[in-house]
Amino acid sequence: MNEMAHSDFEAMLHRALAPVDPPERLKTRLESTLQEITDAAVDELESWELSAMRDPRNWVRPVVATAAGATAGTALVILRVRAQQKKRKAASSSPLDLADRTVKAVVGEARKLARRD
């Protein structure tokens, strides 16, 4: 196969293997899975009995649960705030206004998470 035909073939390969857009429901699902990780960590803490804390062998679990809850929660806030960034940009009158709206969105999402907890 000559060079021209070879590049034609590669062009066809590009078409055959075109990138595939992920469905919108997948993004929602990913965020809710992160939320589940947070919830599971919170449940772990809630079900913890104070009396069990007397045994040092049980100290590791709540610490791990707290860490998991904090990291997943932070990531979720970031993902949610980023998802709305285009809308905020369109609604903003200036970069300062956009910054203000973004900060408010971060606070709002964090509050929503805190309320769920």
């Binding site: 196969m1 990138p19 595939v20 857009d21 992920p22 429901r25 899975t33 970031i78």
Partner: protein
Amino acid sequence: MEPKDKARSDREFSELYSSHLRDVYSYAYYRVGNHHDAEDLTEQTFLQAYRHFERAQAESHGRPLRPWLIRIAHNLAANLYRDRARRPQTPIDDTTVLSALHTTEDLVEGRDELARIIAGIKHLPEERREALIMRFALGMDNREIARAMGKTDGATKVLLHRAIKQLEEIVTTS
């Protein structure tokens, strides 16, 4: 880790997610051949990536993390195949599913070749098929593909060359 560092790490993970969600999904889709499994695979890939993100960042020395993400997806897909092999059911690399991805316009434009290419990819050895997916669906260069597949740049170049050549032969003779 300090809270400030953790916030930065989460922000960077969020950027990685936004930048490469389509890459991971495309890879997953062409690897498993249907949307349902591709969604599961993509979700698991990002959850696993999130768990190991800080370590991956530390070990990447500033290099792009896309090959690392694709490697996670590759390993998870291999597990999926292994699990399915234990519980025989509908083949997950059915090319009729791949064909469904392409639009009517593609087909109307006389794309017999396109259909033959899609069918031909199925007959390639797994490693060659993966290399083609990374190159053509994800637009990865040789170095990125090499990192994702754990090969040298030279070996990857040869792998891609042979994959394209074999596919051309399959398409020509079909």
